[in-house]
Amino acid sequence: MTSESSTGTPDQDDLKLRASIDRSLRHPVMFFFASGAAWLAVAIILGFIASYKVHDSDFLSGIEFLNYGRTYPAHINLLFYGWGCQAAFGLIVWLLARLSRSECRSTGIILTAGHLWNFGVMAGTLCILAGRGSGKPLMEFPPAIWPFLLLAYVFITVWSFIQVRCSYGGKTYVGQWYLLAAVFWFPWVYLTGHLFVFVFNGHPVMAAGVNAWYKYALILLFFTPVALGTAYYLVPKITGRPIYSYSLALYGFWALAVIGPWAGMQKLAGAPLPQFMPYIGATATSLILIPGIAVGVNLLMTLRGHQAHIVASPSLRFTIAGIVGFLLLGFTGMALNTPATLKMTQFALTGYGFEVLAVCGFFSMCAFGGMYFIVPRITRREWLSRRFIGWHFWLTTYGILTVVVCSIMGGLFQGAAQEAYGSSWSDAASRSYAYNVGTTVAWGFIALGSFFFMVHLLLMWARLGKRSQHPTLLDGGHHEESPHGPDHEVEELQPAEA
């Protein structure tokens, strides 16, 4: 089915409904996107500093709060909570309102909760930099902060959950399953992680195990479904075709739901806790390739024959990069978690490469795709500059690819030297030197790319975008028909029974 055959004259009521949804969500969604982009810029700068310090320990060494042991956790936490979660909130709130066809009536509460979230993230980051972090990976914010973040989360997303609940029954969409699952799993994962580490008095090794599981659960059960939900919304919407295979979508979704929650404890292989736990974690991480291939094949097949759209549409281009990122995540997860490689990768830079691939290479790319689509609709302006989008895309794509390749390759050399117990320990550090330098340089490029994005986004929020009926496209050509499709068809094209 092509877009021409599917489009009738859109119902006037429908257009009005969409416009009113967009209007109602303009401020909360722009707030999440803009503050997320700002935290992303801070996270990237901290990442650059931290990475620099890996190969030159004297860099900025006189400044206490920029010590490696503080910049690195601040960098990772901001990447997850400052940028990732807020981008996800914006996407969840907008997409679920559109997919369940109902206006948002709680924008005031969402905005307030959004401020609470930002305040929590800021307080937590300042505490980490001041040397008051908790010292538990990805939970470095002091223990007083997590209840506030959870409270903020509930007040941001509960309305979307209710919207879906009320509209459920008629048509449901693949994107909806993923987003709903993310909304449902996040509080469970977040609460489990923090309760079992900070509140319940358990065994120290088991606390470390829950902590390791939490990181993967957050990636696979929150960031992954949000990114895939966005991709499943955008691809059919922009190309104007239904997704390639409904049963493949169903299979990919439940594969992720069944495999994802087991992953993560491979960090504790060989530690004194029941050994089935780390190895089941390693197995589950390897098997992420299954939903990876299901989603990748499904979306790429949907896009087959739409090269013109891919070239022209910034949203589609970022989304495809994200889907390729998900496939790469599946392959690296498999390669790095076999019994032979796990020995080398358990305590090496590869883990960092894997996290950056998941959060930046996969999730962020899909989120950028969503933002390039959503922002013009809620601000009623078009993106200002084709060049800015292009720079953002290329700098980010190549930058992230370089960070990931350098961290994983450097980490493998480092891990192999660690395992060679007969030779000198200093080999382990020196073998990854060149790769560490590469990572630092790449963060510099990513910083530049995200600067273009942030400036562009802030200009759009200030409603300085182009007043035009034609979306800003990357190929600069004039299209008879918008590659973003007439603005109504996904709902009609995508009925599916969950």
């Binding site: 890996v54 190969h55 320990s57 004297d58 060494s61 010590n67 042991g69 503080r70 690195y72 956790p73 040397g131 972090g133 908790s134 010292g135 538990k136 990976p137 459920y168 449902f184 799993w185 469970w188 489990t192 079992f196 580490v197 008095n201 358990g202 065994h203 120290p204 090794v205 088991m206 606390a207 470390a208 195990g209 599981w213 439940w254 739901a257 929650p261 960090k267 504790l268 060989g270 530690a271 004194p272 806790l273 050994q275 736990m277 974690g281 020995k343 358990q346 305590f347 090496a348 830079l349 883990g351 395992e419 060679a420 117990y421 007969g422 320990w425 200093s426 382990a428 020196s430 969950a498």
Partner: protein
């Protein structure tokens, strides 16, 4: 599929792993049964009490807050999972027993090794060496001819202040980042403070460790795994039964 059954399915797909790898193991590991020395294997019959002394809880939180766990691990993996057991002075030491026979005390980490710590600092990316037995290693470093430190404490203070100072030979490109914020400099009054770090004092000025630095060093010096563990808990390759 209705909304309700969809949510139930999501709950089950998550809840089953949650139960099996989080809730049940957490509950089971909360109160580990004590381990006993047995007459048959250990030559004595008593309960094993893991012992550590020092400012463990405070030191452990300073260790975490300053991100030591990012570069340093604290885990001797079992032989099938990694090779720490083989690396010299990481998992244990070559010592002479009471009969003058050389034995290797290398052993895997046991669940009792993190006693008194709320959270096991397993570690993230091992840019620096493992610290499971760092206290024992430092005693060996003190015997090196080029070292400037005179006691384990002063070795660690030098390491924290600027890791290139503690010995003249170390290649500094991958050194631990300097942490001068753990120290304060002050003019010498009278005979000087007994707590001043010897090698850091300059004319008329002395360098004192802050309470955080003292807690951290005390914690690091508690990291040694050389107490006798029961035969049943000892995974060392060279373990011997008592006669």
């Amino acid at each position: 599929m209705t909304f309700k059954s969809f949510i139930v399915a999501l709950g089950l797909s998550f809840g089953i792993p949650w139960l099996l790898i989080i809730l049940v193991p957490f509950g089971k590991m909360r109160n580990l049964d004590p381990v006993y020395f047995e007459t048959e294997n250990d030559g004595k019959d008593e309960i094993y009490v893991p012992r550590r002394s020092g400012l463990i809880t405070t030191g452990s939180s300073v260790y975490g807050a300053n991100g030591c766990y990012i570069c340093h691990t604290q885990l001797i993996r079992a032989g099938y999972a990694g090779s720490e057991l083989g690396r010299a002075d990481w998992a244990g030491f070559q010592i002479k027993d009471e009969n003058g026979v050389s034995v290797n005390t290398a052993r895997e980490t046991t669940p009792f090794d993190y006693v008194d710590e709320p959270f096991a600092h397993i570690g993230l990316m091992r840019i620096g060496p493992d610290l499971t037995n760092v206290a024992g290693r430092i005693e060996k470093y003190l015997e090196e001819p080029l070292t400037k430190a005179k006691s384990p404490e002063s070795w660690l203070y030098l390491h924290l202040f600027n890791s290139s100072l503690k010995t003249k030979t170390l290649n500094n490109s991958f050194a631990c980042p300097p942490q001068p914020h753990f120290f304060k400099e002050q003019p010498v009054h009278g005979q000087g403070s007994p707590h001043a770090v010897p090698s850091l004092s300059k004319e008329g000025r002395e360098v004192l460790p802050t309470p955080k630095a003292k807690a951290l060093v005390s914690y690091l010096l508690s990291l040694r795994k050389d107490d006798a563990v029961p035969y049943s808990l000892n995974y060392s390759r060279d373990k011997k039964k008592a006669d």
